[in-house]
Each structure stands twice: as C-alpha cells, then as structure tokens.
Symmetry: C2
Subunit: 280 residues, 2 copies
C-alpha cells in the first residue's frame, strides 16, 4: 500500500464531475475546498454550449492559480469515410489549440470506434489519426493521452479497451508527447494492470491517473459511477503501482453520476474531498 | 470467413433462452423446429424451482433424441470463509452428478467472485475449487468448461474475464476434462481473441462455442442480449477461428433478453432459427 493521502495538493477534479456547474462555479468552489487542480471538459469552454471562451477560461484559471492537467476530450478518430476521418483530425487539432490556450498539460483521447467495423481496423485508423496530430501537439507543447475505455464501451465509444492496446500504439508511434491516461474505472479488472503500469512507467507514457469507483450493482453503463470507496476497486493499491513508477501527477477525480448530479453540488463536493482523503 | 451455416445439425439452444418455457415445451418446440441440441439450465431440472427431476429430464431428452452439450451452470467458487468454499465445491459435485444423469457433455462454470476481494485471490480460489472437482468430473465423464465473463461482471459474477485467465488455470491444472467455453458476448472485444482461440485449439481446451449478439445501445448489463445479427459482433469470423482449430461441436444459442422473453416464444424460436442460419 502507498503512503496515505495527506492533503489535497495532488487532487484535481474534472469539471464534468460537477456537471451542473459552470467553469466559474467549479473554480470558486474547488478553490474554497482547497483543491487547485482542475481538468476541463470542452463544454465549459465552448460558448455555443453555454461555456466561456478558451481565452476567458485561461484568465479565470490563471487568476485563481489553478493547474490544468487535462482538456477532455479529443479522439473519435475511426470513421467510414476519408472525409470524416480528416474532420476528426481537424477537430483534434482545434482541441490541441484550446488545450494550449488554457494551459492544459494534455488532451485526453477517447479514441472512438465505428459499430461493426473490425476493432483491428478501428485501432489502425486510431493510430493513423493520432499520428496526424503529433506534430501540432509538439508545436503547442500539449501531450496526448490515450484513455483505454472499459470493454463495455467497445461497441460504440472506444476500440482501445485495455492498456495493452494503448501501449501498442505508443510503441508504434514512439513520440514523447504520446502516452496513456489510466482511469481505474476502465482498467481495474485487468489481470495485467500492474504489469502494464510498470511498463508505462518505464516507457515514460504514464501521463494521467483518474479515480472514481465501480458500484457493485451498477445500474447504468454510463452515469452510475461511484465515489471513491463506494465500490469494489482497491484504489490505494493501484495508486501505489502508479506511484512506484515515479508518477507524481494529479489524482484526477472523474465521476459521472445521475444521483450525484441531482444533489446539491456543494454538499457533493464535500463528499468528494472526504472520499479523496479516505479512499484514494 | 467460414463456410455458411447449411443446416441446423450443429445448432443447440440454451433453455434459458426461452426462459418462459418448461423443459417439455423446449424439447417439443425445438424438435418441431429441427433443432436437436439443447443445453440445460439447472432450474428446469430442479423440482423446487418448478422443474422436473434429472432422471425425468434424462428420459425426455433421450426419447426425443436430443444431444446435450452442457448443463449450465456450476462455479461460484470464491468465498470469504473455508466453509462457504467447501459448500461451493459440494454444490459443483452435485452439479456434475446431474450432468451425468442427463447425459450432458460438460458443466459450464461461471466461476464467481467476492466483491472487493482482490481478483488475483479470487482466481486462486477458483483454481483450487476447480481442482477439487476434477476427480469426480473424470469419474463421471463430465467435462468442466470455464466460461470467461465480460469484464463488466468482474465486480460480482466472475473473476475470469478473458480467455487468458481461463487458459492460465487450464495450464496450471493440466487435465483433459478441463477446458473453456467461448461465448462471443463476453470475449468479442478482446484484441487477443483469435490468438487465444488458436491456443485453446492446440491445447485441446476449446470445449464450447456460445452465440448471441451485443446490442450497440445496450440497455441492461444482464438481460439485453441481441439475436445474432442484431448487434456489432462479427460472429461468422469468430466461428471461422473456432472451426479452424478443428472444433465441430455445437453452436449454442444463449440469449438473455427481457424483450424476447416477453414475446410469443414460438415466434421467437422462428426468429432464433432464422438468425442462426443468416448470422452465425
């Protein structure tokens, strides 16, 4: 087991965790709670979706002294047509620009898939799409982090479902700006998890660590994640494996939950902070 | 792609697919539809659950000339206490007796887990439990088939979530009566699937092949499986990999679906037969 969490210095929260809040509300409330890391979902910096502009976000974040591990999310590379694949690449280049504008260390990639397309082909298209973004990512000094998604999302959200498949793309493209975001929700069940984390540490590709919990009686595949400690994931052990590689980045809290979105968000934030200190 | 399905000679149906039916209704209706393979779920041969006795089932199946690839399901080995683990082993020994009584070729093992128990420990207990059943299985000439379950069941139903973990137990125990049941629903997403099927073929552990489909918009993690052709799984390609190993056992139709259980079961059976011929 790793050393217990002592403070909030490595705690970051994803804005989508507090989906009912604007970026302003997130910043003010996280700051009041002593949290100074925030990962930004694109909706809160997209004016057409009710968000501020990336430039406004940059000022707000900088004024409040926040660190931004990630902009979430790019990806969605595979498609049936060349034109659609190019559009996806263009969208990712814009996402990288936004990450640079707000000072985010990385863009998290949910890589996508096409229902019915052979997963091997979707993975090939994913590698091709990522490759087409690396030059711009390097120029902008923004890392790209492939997030393996749980196999229950293999039909329609991601053709990369274990760290192994993310590693294979990293090994093929060999670029210091390309790595992996490890979210315990997606990978906790994998018998190879510790080994893959070790290898990612050795290869310099362990870019991010996301936490939440897997509720034993999961009611929805999308929006029923648990607070840390509410489910069956041994988060401290996995954090220990991650820290054994030398990782000292943020522990990013990323929870999608209809139940928690329905409650008072300030009360919920108190629960998050408590769960972070007790169960991460 | 393998040769198209030409007839129903290798088609078997799991009784739970037609959950509203008794064993009598399953036998009569499958026979009328030209299906002569049936895998039996324990509820239909458990009098306290409204079923017939195993001996009655044996006569009914034999009179109708049915083959029985499997009795479903044993397993559920891991537990917090020694006593519970022994009870699980005893229950599996009874299950093997029932399989012998009805002339089933194998018992399918859904191995179980304990929420919060480290998966490595649950797997160790699983191997231990299986080992304790092999002598009786051999004496009864009943095979044991480990069925890897989808990782979304890792919290509470199975600590074996890929063919790799089933293979490791087979390799450790090295017994000709122990093998693997491959259900496309659970393993279709696995990047190593073709390789694992090849190896299982070489090791003589490819005991069963189960089919249904993964609905792209899955509404329930338990009871929303699709008919073959309704989802995103390329079943013919996987069947091709299985047949390339020399496998000539049954293609077993195993579907859990609230929608289909609610419809007229004879109409549903027609759909099953059509889907089998078109999409397996």
């Amino acid at each position: 087991m790793p050393a217990p969490i002592e403070d909030l210095s490595r705690c970051a929260i994803h804005t989508f965790t507090n989906k009912p809040w604007s970026l302003r509300q997130c910043i003010d409330s996280y700051q009041a709670a002593g949290v100074s890391g925030i990962s930004i979902w694109r909706n809160v910096i997209t004016p057409s979706e009710g968000g501020v502009t990336p430039e406004e976000a940059a000022s707000m974040l900088s004024d409040a002294g926040f660190s931004v591990p990630a902009l979430v999310r790019g990806g969605f590379f595979p498609a049936d047509e060349d034109g659609k694949r190019q559009s996806a690449i263009d969208e990712n280049l814009r996402c990288i620009d936004e990450a640079k504008a707000i000072g985010a260390e990385m863009v998290v990639l949910v890589v996508g898939t096409v229902p019915g397309m052979p997963l091997a082909e979707a993975r090939r298209q994913t590698a091709e799409g990522i490759a087409a973004c690396l030059e711009h990512a390097t120029a902008c000094n923004v890392k790209l982090a492939i997030e393996p998604l749980h196999p229950m999302y293999a039909a329609d959200r991601s053709c990369i479902n274990r760290m192994a498949e993310a590693r294979e793309i990293c090994e093929a493209l060999q670029n210091p700006m390309l790595g992996i975001a490890v979210d315990v929700y997606h990978v906790w069940w994998d018998a190879d998890l510790q080994w893959e984390i070790d290898v990612a540490g050795e290869q310099g590709t362990l870019f991010a660590f996301h936490v939440c919990d897997w509720r034993v009686e999961t009611r929805s595949m999308l929006t029923d994640r648990g607070l840390m400690g509410e489910g069956c994931i041994d988060i401290p052990t996995i954090r220990g494996w991650v820290e054994d590689t030398g990782f000292r980045g943020y522990n990013e809290v990323e929870i999608f939950s209809e139940d928690y979105w329905a409650m008072d968000q300030n009360e919920y934030l108190q629960k998050i902070v408590q769960a972070y200190q007790q169960s991460v």
